[in-house]
Protein backbone atom coordinates (compact mmCIF):
# COMPACT_ATOMS: atom_id res chain seq x y z
CA UNK A 1 0.00 0.00 0.00
CA UNK A 2 3.01 2.36 -0.14
CA UNK A 3 1.75 3.64 -3.49
CA UNK A 4 -1.91 3.91 -2.43
CA UNK A 5 -4.90 2.94 -4.55
CA UNK A 6 -4.63 3.69 -8.24
CA UNK A 7 -6.36 2.71 -11.44
CA UNK A 8 -3.25 3.13 -13.57
CA UNK A 9 0.29 4.46 -13.49
CA UNK A 10 1.86 5.87 -16.62
CA UNK A 11 4.82 7.95 -17.84
CA UNK A 12 3.67 11.21 -19.38
CA UNK A 13 4.56 14.71 -20.46
CA UNK A 14 2.64 17.67 -21.77
CA UNK A 15 2.33 18.08 -25.54
CA UNK A 16 2.42 21.86 -25.15
CA UNK A 17 5.95 23.25 -25.78
CA UNK A 18 5.08 26.52 -24.04
CA UNK A 19 4.20 24.64 -20.83
CA UNK A 20 7.27 22.41 -21.08
CA UNK A 21 9.63 25.36 -21.49
CA UNK A 22 9.57 26.21 -17.80
CA UNK A 23 7.97 23.09 -16.36
CA UNK A 24 9.71 21.26 -13.54
CA UNK A 25 9.47 17.89 -15.31
CA UNK A 26 6.68 16.77 -17.64
CA UNK A 27 4.45 19.81 -17.04
CA UNK A 28 1.69 17.52 -15.81
CA UNK A 29 0.09 19.82 -13.23
CA UNK A 30 0.09 22.91 -15.45
CA UNK A 31 -1.19 20.95 -18.45
CA UNK A 32 -3.95 19.23 -16.44
CA UNK A 33 -5.21 22.54 -15.08
CA UNK A 34 -4.85 24.33 -18.44
CA UNK A 35 -6.88 21.58 -20.12
CA UNK A 36 -9.48 21.48 -17.32
CA UNK A 37 -9.78 25.28 -17.45
CA UNK A 38 -10.29 25.22 -21.24
CA UNK A 39 -12.92 22.52 -20.96
CA UNK A 40 -14.78 24.15 -18.09
CA UNK A 41 -14.00 21.20 -15.80
CA UNK A 42 -12.59 23.73 -13.33
CA UNK A 43 -13.21 27.48 -12.93
CA UNK A 44 -9.73 27.96 -11.55
CA UNK A 45 -7.06 26.30 -9.46
CA UNK A 46 -5.21 26.98 -6.24
CA UNK A 47 -1.52 26.76 -7.12
CA UNK A 48 1.82 27.70 -5.60
CA UNK A 49 2.52 30.93 -7.44
CA UNK A 50 5.50 33.24 -7.41
CA UNK A 51 5.88 35.97 -4.78
CA UNK A 52 8.05 39.03 -4.34
CA UNK A 53 10.89 36.93 -2.97
CA UNK A 54 12.78 34.51 -5.25
CA UNK A 55 11.60 30.90 -4.99
CA UNK A 56 9.25 31.75 -2.13
CA UNK A 57 5.90 30.27 -3.10
CA UNK A 58 2.66 32.12 -2.46
CA UNK A 59 -0.68 30.35 -2.78
CA UNK A 60 -2.67 31.90 -5.58
CA UNK A 61 -5.90 31.28 -7.44
CA UNK A 62 -5.14 30.88 -11.13
CA UNK A 63 -8.16 31.47 -13.35
CA UNK A 64 -6.33 32.03 -16.63
CA UNK A 65 -3.72 30.18 -18.65
CA UNK A 66 -1.28 33.07 -18.09
CA UNK A 67 -1.58 32.71 -14.33
CA UNK A 68 -1.01 28.97 -14.60
CA UNK A 69 2.10 29.55 -16.74
CA UNK A 70 3.42 32.04 -14.17
CA UNK A 71 3.22 29.39 -11.47
CA UNK A 72 5.07 26.64 -13.42
CA UNK A 73 7.92 24.81 -11.76
CA UNK A 74 8.68 23.69 -8.22
CA UNK A 75 9.51 26.02 -5.37
CA UNK A 76 10.86 23.83 -2.61
CA UNK A 77 9.22 25.66 0.25
CA UNK A 78 5.92 25.78 2.09
CA UNK A 79 2.92 27.01 0.14
CA UNK A 80 -0.20 26.76 2.34
CA UNK A 81 -2.59 26.11 -0.56
CA UNK A 82 -5.33 24.87 1.78
CA UNK A 83 -5.46 28.37 3.27
CA UNK A 84 -7.37 29.47 0.15
CA UNK A 85 -9.78 26.53 -0.03
CA UNK A 86 -12.70 28.47 1.48
CA UNK A 87 -11.74 31.87 0.05
CA UNK A 88 -11.69 30.43 -3.48
CA UNK A 89 -15.40 29.66 -3.17
CA UNK A 90 -16.15 33.08 -1.66
CA UNK A 91 -14.44 36.18 -3.02
CA UNK A 92 -13.30 34.30 -6.14
CA UNK A 93 -16.75 32.72 -6.51
CA UNK A 94 -15.48 29.40 -7.91
CA UNK A 95 -17.90 26.45 -8.06
CA UNK A 96 -15.43 23.99 -9.57
CA UNK A 97 -12.09 24.19 -7.83
CA UNK A 98 -8.75 22.73 -8.86
CA UNK A 99 -6.04 22.31 -6.25
CA UNK A 100 -2.45 21.16 -6.37
CA UNK A 101 -0.75 20.07 -3.20
CA UNK A 102 1.68 17.84 -1.41
CA UNK A 103 0.50 14.53 0.10
CA UNK A 104 -0.21 16.20 3.45
CA UNK A 105 -2.28 18.87 1.72
CA UNK A 106 -4.28 16.15 -0.03
CA UNK A 107 -4.85 14.61 3.42
CA UNK A 108 -5.98 18.01 4.69
CA UNK A 109 -8.32 18.37 1.72
CA UNK A 110 -9.99 14.97 2.16
CA UNK A 111 -10.28 15.43 5.90
CA UNK A 112 -11.84 18.82 5.11
CA UNK A 113 -14.38 17.17 2.82
CA UNK A 114 -15.32 14.48 5.35
CA UNK A 115 -15.03 16.71 8.42
CA UNK A 116 -15.85 20.22 7.17
CA UNK A 117 -15.64 21.74 10.65
CA UNK A 118 -14.94 25.23 9.38
CA UNK A 119 -15.30 24.75 5.63
CA UNK A 120 -18.92 25.52 4.89
CA UNK A 121 -20.10 24.73 1.34
CA UNK A 122 -16.62 23.70 0.21
CA UNK A 123 -16.67 19.89 0.10
CA UNK A 124 -18.76 19.54 -3.06
CA UNK A 125 -16.84 22.18 -5.00
CA UNK A 126 -13.57 20.25 -5.39
CA UNK A 127 -13.42 19.32 -9.07
CA UNK A 128 -9.79 18.21 -9.45
CA UNK A 129 -7.15 17.61 -6.78
CA UNK A 130 -3.66 17.01 -8.14
CA UNK A 131 -1.07 15.66 -5.72
CA UNK A 132 2.69 15.85 -6.08
CA UNK A 133 5.27 13.37 -4.81
CA UNK A 134 7.02 14.73 -1.75
CA UNK A 135 9.87 13.48 0.40
CA UNK A 136 9.99 16.55 2.65
CA UNK A 137 9.67 20.33 2.54
CA UNK A 138 11.80 23.25 3.71
CA UNK A 139 11.02 26.53 5.45
CA UNK A 140 11.97 29.43 3.15
CA UNK A 141 14.91 30.36 5.36
CA UNK A 142 16.20 26.82 4.83
CA UNK A 143 16.16 27.36 1.05
CA UNK A 144 18.05 30.64 1.50
CA UNK A 145 20.71 28.91 3.58
CA UNK A 146 21.01 25.95 1.21
CA UNK A 147 21.35 28.06 -1.91
CA UNK A 148 23.28 31.05 -0.56
CA UNK A 149 25.41 29.53 2.22
CA UNK A 150 25.94 25.94 1.11
CA UNK A 151 25.63 26.64 -2.62
CA UNK A 152 27.38 30.03 -2.57
CA UNK A 153 24.83 31.28 -5.09
CA UNK A 154 22.58 34.37 -4.95
CA UNK A 155 18.98 33.18 -4.88
CA UNK A 156 18.13 36.14 -7.17
CA UNK A 157 20.25 34.55 -9.90
CA UNK A 158 18.71 31.08 -9.68
CA UNK A 159 16.57 29.91 -12.59
CA UNK A 160 15.63 26.47 -11.30
CA UNK A 161 15.93 24.30 -8.19
CA UNK A 162 15.60 20.55 -8.39
CA UNK A 163 15.95 17.50 -6.21
CA UNK A 164 16.82 14.31 -8.04
CA UNK A 165 19.41 11.60 -8.50
CA UNK A 166 20.35 11.95 -4.83
CA UNK A 167 21.29 15.63 -5.06
CA UNK A 168 19.91 19.13 -4.53
CA UNK A 169 20.48 21.03 -7.79
CA UNK A 170 20.83 24.78 -8.26
CA UNK A 171 20.77 26.15 -11.83
CA UNK A 172 21.61 29.80 -12.40
CA UNK A 173 20.37 32.22 -15.05
CA UNK A 174 23.88 32.32 -16.55
CA UNK A 175 24.14 28.59 -16.98
CA UNK A 176 26.11 27.54 -13.92
CA UNK A 177 25.10 24.41 -12.02
CA UNK A 178 25.72 23.78 -8.35
CA UNK A 179 24.83 20.53 -6.68
CA UNK A 180 24.66 19.73 -2.98
CA UNK A 181 24.61 16.25 -1.49
CA UNK A 182 21.17 15.59 0.00
CA UNK A 183 22.90 14.92 3.31
CA UNK A 184 23.37 18.65 3.93
CA UNK A 185 19.69 19.36 3.21
CA UNK A 186 18.26 17.03 5.86
CA UNK A 187 18.79 19.34 8.83
CA UNK A 188 16.68 22.02 7.13
CA UNK A 189 13.58 19.84 6.65
CA UNK A 190 10.57 21.13 8.55
CA UNK A 191 9.84 18.86 11.55
CA UNK A 192 6.21 18.27 10.56
CA UNK A 193 7.40 16.28 7.54
CA UNK A 194 8.91 13.57 9.71
CA UNK A 195 5.56 12.07 10.73
CA UNK A 196 4.27 11.93 7.15
CA UNK A 197 3.37 8.45 5.89
CA UNK A 198 2.57 9.31 2.27
CA UNK A 199 5.08 9.83 -0.55
CA UNK A 200 2.92 9.77 -3.68
CA UNK A 201 -0.22 11.67 -2.58
CA UNK A 202 -2.47 8.63 -2.13
CA UNK A 203 -5.57 10.80 -1.66
CA UNK A 204 -5.29 12.92 -4.79
CA UNK A 205 -7.48 12.40 -7.86
CA UNK A 206 -4.28 12.29 -9.91
CA UNK A 207 -0.75 12.40 -8.51
CA UNK A 208 2.51 13.06 -10.26
CA UNK A 209 6.24 13.44 -9.73
CA UNK A 210 9.55 13.12 -11.52
CA UNK A 211 10.71 9.93 -9.82
CA UNK A 212 10.59 6.81 -11.98
CA UNK A 213 10.71 8.51 -15.37
CA UNK A 214 13.48 10.00 -17.56
CA UNK A 215 14.33 13.74 -17.54
CA UNK A 216 11.50 15.81 -18.96
CA UNK A 217 8.91 13.18 -18.12
CA UNK A 218 6.76 12.50 -15.05
CA UNK A 219 5.19 9.48 -13.43
CA UNK A 220 1.41 9.82 -13.18
CA UNK A 221 -0.90 7.85 -10.87
CA UNK A 222 -4.57 8.03 -11.82
CA UNK A 223 -6.45 7.31 -8.61
CA UNK A 224 -10.09 8.35 -8.16
CA UNK A 225 -13.13 7.99 -10.41
CA UNK A 226 -12.99 11.75 -10.96
CA UNK A 227 -9.29 11.61 -11.83
CA UNK A 228 -9.85 8.68 -14.18
CA UNK A 229 -12.54 10.55 -16.05
CA UNK A 230 -10.51 13.75 -16.45
CA UNK A 231 -7.31 11.89 -17.40
CA UNK A 232 -9.11 9.89 -20.09
CA UNK A 233 -10.59 13.07 -21.57
CA UNK A 234 -7.21 14.86 -21.48
CA UNK A 235 -5.53 11.93 -23.26
CA UNK A 236 -8.30 11.84 -25.86
CA UNK A 237 -7.79 15.58 -26.40
CA UNK A 238 -4.08 15.04 -27.03
CA UNK A 239 -2.93 16.99 -23.99
CA UNK A 240 -0.30 14.42 -23.04
CA UNK A 241 2.25 12.18 -24.67
CA UNK A 242 2.47 8.89 -22.74
CA UNK A 243 4.60 5.78 -22.46
CA UNK A 244 3.88 2.59 -20.51
CA UNK A 245 5.52 2.79 -17.10
CA UNK A 246 7.30 -0.55 -17.61
CA UNK A 247 8.98 0.77 -20.76
CA UNK A 248 10.87 3.63 -19.07
CA UNK A 249 13.88 3.89 -16.80
CA UNK A 250 14.31 3.92 -13.81
CA UNK A 251 10.67 2.78 -13.63
CA UNK A 252 8.11 2.12 -10.92
CA UNK A 253 10.52 0.18 -8.70
CA UNK A 254 12.35 3.37 -7.77
CA UNK A 255 9.06 5.05 -6.79
CA UNK A 256 8.23 2.03 -4.63
CA UNK A 257 11.70 2.07 -3.09
CA UNK A 258 11.63 5.78 -2.19
CA UNK A 259 8.05 5.54 -0.89
CA UNK A 260 8.98 2.54 1.25
CA UNK A 261 12.12 4.29 2.54
CA UNK A 262 10.18 7.42 3.50
CA UNK A 263 7.32 5.59 5.16
CA UNK A 264 9.57 3.15 7.04
CA UNK A 265 11.77 5.96 8.34
CA UNK A 266 8.84 8.14 9.39
CA UNK A 267 6.86 5.25 10.89
CA UNK A 268 9.89 4.55 13.05
CA UNK A 269 10.14 8.17 14.11
CA UNK A 270 6.40 8.28 14.79
CA UNK A 271 6.68 5.29 17.11
CA UNK A 272 9.74 6.75 18.79
CA UNK A 273 7.71 9.86 19.71
CA UNK A 274 6.04 7.79 22.41
CA UNK A 275 9.35 7.34 24.22
CA UNK A 276 11.55 9.85 22.39
CA UNK A 277 13.35 11.43 25.32
CA UNK A 278 13.17 8.59 27.82
CA UNK A 279 11.28 10.81 30.24
CA UNK A 280 8.18 8.66 30.49
CA UNK A 281 6.13 11.24 28.59
CA UNK A 282 4.99 10.89 25.01
CA UNK A 283 4.78 13.43 22.23
CA UNK A 284 1.35 13.54 20.62
CA UNK A 285 0.44 11.09 17.87
CA UNK A 286 -1.69 12.82 15.21
CA UNK A 287 -3.04 9.60 13.71
CA UNK A 288 -6.18 8.32 15.43
Amino acid sequence: MVLGNYKQVIAARSTDPEILRKAQDGGIVTQLFAYALDEGIIDGAIVAGPSDEPFKPEPMVATTREELLASRGTRYSISPNMALIKEVTRSYGLDKVGLVGTPCQMQALRKGQLYPVGLRDVADKIALAVGIFCMENFPYQGIIQLVEDHGATKLDNVSKLDIGKGKFWIYTERGATVDLPLKVTHKYEQPGCHVCLDYVANLADISTGSVGTPDGWSSVFVRSAKGDDIWAKAIAAGAFETKPMDSVKPGIDLVTKLATDKITKNQKYLESRATEYGVGKALRNPYI
Partner: protein, 254 residues
Amino acid sequence: MADKITVGHVHMSGCTGCLVSFADTYEGLLTILDKYADLVYCLTLADVRHIPEMDVALVEGSVCINDHLSVEEIIETRKNAKIVVALGGCACYGNITRFCRGGQMNQPQHEGFLPIGDLIDVDVYIPGCAPTPQQIRNVCVMAYLLLKGNDEQKALAGAYLTPFMNLAKAGTEACGCDIMTQVINQGLCMGCGSCAAACPVRAISMEYGKPQIERDLCIKCGACYAQCPRSFFSFDVVNQYEGIMDAIDAAMQP
Protein backbone atom coordinates in the same frame (compact mmCIF):
# COMPACT_ATOMS: atom_id res chain seq x y z
CA MET B 1 -40.06 5.02 7.93
CA ALA B 2 -40.82 3.32 11.18
CA ASP B 3 -37.20 3.02 12.09
CA LYS B 4 -36.27 6.65 12.52
CA ILE B 5 -34.20 7.95 15.40
CA THR B 6 -35.49 10.72 17.64
CA VAL B 7 -33.56 13.96 17.73
CA GLY B 8 -33.95 17.10 19.79
CA HIS B 9 -32.38 20.54 19.59
CA VAL B 10 -31.75 21.90 23.07
CA HIS B 11 -31.22 25.65 23.12
CA MET B 12 -28.94 26.89 25.89
CA SER B 13 -27.09 30.24 25.66
CA GLY B 14 -26.50 30.38 21.95
CA CYS B 15 -27.39 32.70 19.12
CA THR B 16 -29.42 30.17 17.11
CA GLY B 17 -26.66 30.15 14.47
CA CYS B 18 -26.12 26.43 15.02
CA LEU B 19 -29.81 25.73 14.45
CA VAL B 20 -29.75 27.92 11.35
CA SER B 21 -26.79 25.84 10.13
CA PHE B 22 -28.74 22.64 10.84
CA ALA B 23 -31.66 24.03 8.82
CA ASP B 24 -29.28 25.32 6.13
CA THR B 25 -29.04 21.88 4.61
CA TYR B 26 -32.19 23.11 2.81
CA GLU B 27 -34.02 20.15 1.30
CA GLY B 28 -31.41 18.00 3.04
CA LEU B 29 -33.13 18.81 6.33
CA LEU B 30 -36.40 17.55 4.88
CA THR B 31 -34.68 14.33 3.78
CA ILE B 32 -33.22 13.88 7.26
CA LEU B 33 -36.65 14.46 8.84
CA ASP B 34 -38.38 12.25 6.23
CA LYS B 35 -36.08 9.27 6.39
CA TYR B 36 -33.84 9.25 9.42
CA ALA B 37 -34.97 11.41 12.31
CA ASP B 38 -38.05 12.72 14.06
CA LEU B 39 -37.54 16.13 15.60
CA VAL B 40 -39.09 15.60 19.02
CA TYR B 41 -37.89 18.78 20.74
CA CYS B 42 -36.86 22.13 19.30
CA LEU B 43 -37.93 25.45 20.85
CA THR B 44 -37.75 27.21 17.50
CA LEU B 45 -39.39 24.63 15.25
CA ALA B 46 -41.52 22.30 17.40
CA ASP B 47 -44.23 23.00 19.95
CA VAL B 48 -42.87 20.88 22.80
CA ARG B 49 -42.43 22.41 26.26
CA HIS B 50 -40.41 19.85 28.16
CA ILE B 51 -37.36 17.86 27.21
CA PRO B 52 -38.61 14.38 26.22
CA GLU B 53 -36.70 11.13 25.95
CA MET B 54 -34.73 10.95 22.71
CA ASP B 55 -31.89 9.18 20.95
CA VAL B 56 -29.80 12.23 20.12
CA ALA B 57 -29.80 15.66 21.75
CA LEU B 58 -28.09 18.41 19.77
CA VAL B 59 -27.24 21.03 22.36
CA GLU B 60 -26.56 24.54 21.15
CA GLY B 61 -25.02 27.16 23.41
CA SER B 62 -23.28 27.22 26.77
CA VAL B 63 -24.96 26.95 30.18
CA CYS B 64 -25.57 30.10 32.19
CA ILE B 65 -24.84 28.94 35.73
CA ASN B 66 -26.57 32.03 37.14
CA ASP B 67 -29.85 30.74 35.74
CA HIS B 68 -31.17 27.66 37.55
CA LEU B 69 -33.49 26.77 34.67
CA SER B 70 -30.54 26.41 32.30
CA VAL B 71 -28.71 24.16 34.73
CA GLU B 72 -31.83 22.04 35.28
CA GLU B 73 -32.39 21.72 31.54
CA ILE B 74 -28.88 20.53 30.76
CA ILE B 75 -29.11 17.94 33.54
CA GLU B 76 -32.46 16.84 32.18
CA THR B 77 -31.02 16.62 28.67
CA ARG B 78 -28.34 14.24 29.87
CA LYS B 79 -30.94 12.15 31.67
CA ASN B 80 -33.29 11.90 28.69
CA ALA B 81 -30.91 11.54 25.75
CA LYS B 82 -28.94 8.44 24.77
CA ILE B 83 -26.35 10.54 22.92
CA VAL B 84 -25.57 14.15 23.80
CA VAL B 85 -23.93 16.16 21.04
CA ALA B 86 -22.40 19.54 21.84
CA LEU B 87 -23.35 21.42 18.70
CA GLY B 88 -21.02 24.32 17.97
CA GLY B 89 -18.29 26.22 19.75
CA CYS B 90 -20.39 27.54 22.66
CA ALA B 91 -21.61 24.12 23.78
CA CYS B 92 -18.17 22.53 23.25
CA TYR B 93 -15.84 25.24 24.46
CA GLY B 94 -17.76 28.33 25.59
CA ASN B 95 -16.72 30.15 22.43
CA ILE B 96 -17.74 33.84 22.45
CA THR B 97 -19.66 33.40 25.74
CA ARG B 98 -16.27 32.91 27.43
CA PHE B 99 -15.89 36.66 27.09
CA CYS B 100 -19.09 37.57 28.96
CA ARG B 101 -18.61 39.61 32.13
CA GLY B 102 -22.26 40.36 32.90
CA GLY B 103 -23.87 43.78 33.06
CA GLN B 104 -25.88 43.38 29.86
CA MET B 105 -29.61 43.90 29.31
CA ASN B 106 -31.88 42.54 30.48
CA GLN B 107 -30.27 40.07 32.88
CA PRO B 108 -27.15 41.94 34.05
CA GLN B 109 -26.46 39.32 36.72
CA HIS B 110 -25.92 36.58 34.13
CA GLU B 111 -22.17 36.48 33.75
CA GLY B 112 -21.02 32.89 34.17
CA PHE B 113 -21.35 30.69 31.11
CA LEU B 114 -19.93 27.18 30.96
CA PRO B 115 -19.51 24.75 28.11
CA ILE B 116 -21.96 21.91 28.70
CA GLY B 117 -19.10 19.48 29.30
CA ASP B 118 -18.29 21.28 32.55
CA LEU B 119 -21.67 20.16 33.92
CA ILE B 120 -22.56 16.89 32.18
CA ASP B 121 -20.84 14.09 30.27
CA VAL B 122 -20.88 14.80 26.55
CA ASP B 123 -20.59 12.09 23.90
CA VAL B 124 -19.79 14.01 20.72
CA TYR B 125 -18.42 17.45 19.92
CA ILE B 126 -19.11 19.37 16.73
CA PRO B 127 -16.81 22.40 17.04
CA GLY B 128 -16.92 25.57 14.99
CA CYS B 129 -18.84 28.83 14.84
CA ALA B 130 -21.16 28.09 13.31
CA PRO B 131 -20.66 24.38 12.73
CA THR B 132 -21.15 23.89 8.99
CA PRO B 133 -24.36 22.43 7.54
CA GLN B 134 -22.32 19.68 5.88
CA GLN B 135 -20.61 18.74 9.15
CA ILE B 136 -23.94 18.56 10.98
CA ARG B 137 -25.43 16.54 8.11
CA ASN B 138 -22.49 14.09 8.15
CA VAL B 139 -22.82 13.60 11.92
CA CYS B 140 -26.60 13.11 11.60
CA VAL B 141 -26.18 10.44 8.91
CA MET B 142 -23.41 8.73 10.89
CA ALA B 143 -25.42 8.85 14.15
CA TYR B 144 -28.32 7.19 12.33
CA LEU B 145 -26.04 4.46 10.96
CA LEU B 146 -24.52 3.94 14.40
CA LEU B 147 -27.95 3.38 15.94
CA LYS B 148 -29.81 1.69 13.07
CA GLY B 149 -27.27 0.43 10.54
CA ASN B 150 -25.94 -3.04 9.81
CA ASP B 151 -22.67 -4.21 11.36
CA GLU B 152 -20.53 -2.74 8.59
CA GLN B 153 -22.31 0.60 8.75
CA LYS B 154 -22.05 0.67 12.54
CA ALA B 155 -18.29 0.10 12.30
CA LEU B 156 -17.84 2.89 9.75
CA ALA B 157 -20.02 5.31 11.71
CA GLY B 158 -18.11 4.48 14.90
CA ALA B 159 -14.80 5.13 13.17
CA TYR B 160 -16.09 8.38 11.67
CA LEU B 161 -17.43 9.68 14.99
CA THR B 162 -14.47 8.57 17.13
CA PRO B 163 -12.45 11.80 16.69
CA PHE B 164 -15.47 13.87 17.79
CA MET B 165 -15.96 11.54 20.76
CA ASN B 166 -12.29 12.00 21.63
CA LEU B 167 -12.62 15.78 21.44
CA ALA B 168 -15.52 15.48 23.90
CA LYS B 169 -13.24 13.61 26.30
CA ALA B 170 -10.32 15.96 25.78
CA GLY B 171 -11.68 19.03 27.53
CA THR B 172 -13.80 22.15 27.40
CA GLU B 173 -11.28 24.78 26.38
CA ALA B 174 -10.34 25.75 22.86
CA CYS B 175 -8.36 28.62 21.40
CA GLY B 176 -6.25 29.48 18.38
CA CYS B 177 -3.38 28.78 20.77
CA ASP B 178 -4.19 25.08 20.35
CA ILE B 179 -2.60 25.30 16.92
CA MET B 180 0.58 26.49 18.60
CA THR B 181 0.56 24.26 21.67
CA GLN B 182 -0.88 21.05 20.21
CA VAL B 183 0.49 21.20 16.67
CA ILE B 184 3.50 23.49 16.17
CA ASN B 185 5.05 22.96 19.63
CA GLN B 186 4.60 19.22 19.07
CA GLY B 187 6.56 19.35 15.80
CA LEU B 188 3.54 18.35 13.73
CA CYS B 189 2.69 21.41 11.59
CA MET B 190 3.55 21.14 7.91
CA GLY B 191 2.01 24.43 6.84
CA CYS B 192 -1.04 23.31 4.84
CA GLY B 193 -3.20 26.32 5.79
CA SER B 194 -6.33 24.39 6.84
CA CYS B 195 -6.52 26.28 10.13
CA ALA B 196 -6.48 29.64 8.34
CA ALA B 197 -9.25 28.52 5.99
CA ALA B 198 -11.36 27.16 8.85
CA CYS B 199 -11.21 30.23 11.11
CA PRO B 200 -14.58 32.02 10.97
CA VAL B 201 -13.12 35.36 12.08
CA ARG B 202 -9.98 35.37 9.93
CA ALA B 203 -7.78 35.40 13.00
CA ILE B 204 -5.21 33.17 11.29
CA SER B 205 -2.93 34.15 8.44
CA MET B 206 -0.03 32.16 7.05
CA GLU B 207 3.41 33.74 7.42
CA TYR B 208 6.38 31.95 5.88
CA GLY B 209 4.25 28.84 5.63
CA LYS B 210 3.12 28.72 9.26
CA PRO B 211 -0.01 29.99 11.01
CA GLN B 212 0.13 33.43 12.62
CA ILE B 213 -2.67 33.68 15.16
CA GLU B 214 -4.14 37.05 16.14
CA ARG B 215 -5.23 36.04 19.61
CA ASP B 216 -7.29 39.19 20.16
CA LEU B 217 -9.52 38.20 17.25
CA CYS B 218 -9.91 34.56 18.31
CA ILE B 219 -13.38 33.70 19.63
CA LYS B 220 -12.36 30.22 20.92
CA CYS B 221 -14.65 28.12 18.70
CA GLY B 222 -12.27 25.19 18.17
CA ALA B 223 -12.60 25.09 14.36
CA CYS B 224 -8.91 25.59 13.58
CA TYR B 225 -7.65 22.72 15.69
CA ALA B 226 -10.43 20.33 14.66
CA GLN B 227 -9.81 21.16 10.98
CA CYS B 228 -6.04 20.66 11.25
CA PRO B 229 -5.05 17.37 9.61
CA ARG B 230 -2.52 16.89 12.38
CA SER B 231 -5.04 17.18 15.24
CA PHE B 232 -6.71 13.91 14.35
CA PHE B 233 -6.49 11.85 11.20
CA SER B 234 -7.79 8.35 10.74
CA PHE B 235 -6.47 6.51 7.69
CA ASP B 236 -9.30 3.98 8.11
CA VAL B 237 -11.83 6.74 7.55
CA VAL B 238 -10.14 9.23 5.23
CA ASN B 239 -8.74 6.60 2.84
CA GLN B 240 -12.38 5.73 2.11
CA TYR B 241 -13.29 9.33 1.33
CA GLU B 242 -14.73 8.50 -2.10
CA GLY B 243 -17.03 5.77 -0.81
CA ILE B 244 -18.12 7.73 2.26
CA MET B 245 -18.93 10.88 0.30
CA ASP B 246 -20.91 8.83 -2.24
CA ALA B 247 -22.76 7.06 0.59
CA ILE B 248 -23.68 10.33 2.28
CA ASP B 249 -24.85 11.80 -1.05
CA ALA B 250 -26.94 8.70 -1.67
CA ALA B 251 -28.39 8.85 1.84
CA MET B 252 -29.41 12.46 1.27
CA GLN B 253 -31.39 11.73 -1.90
CA PRO B 254 -35.09 12.47 -1.24
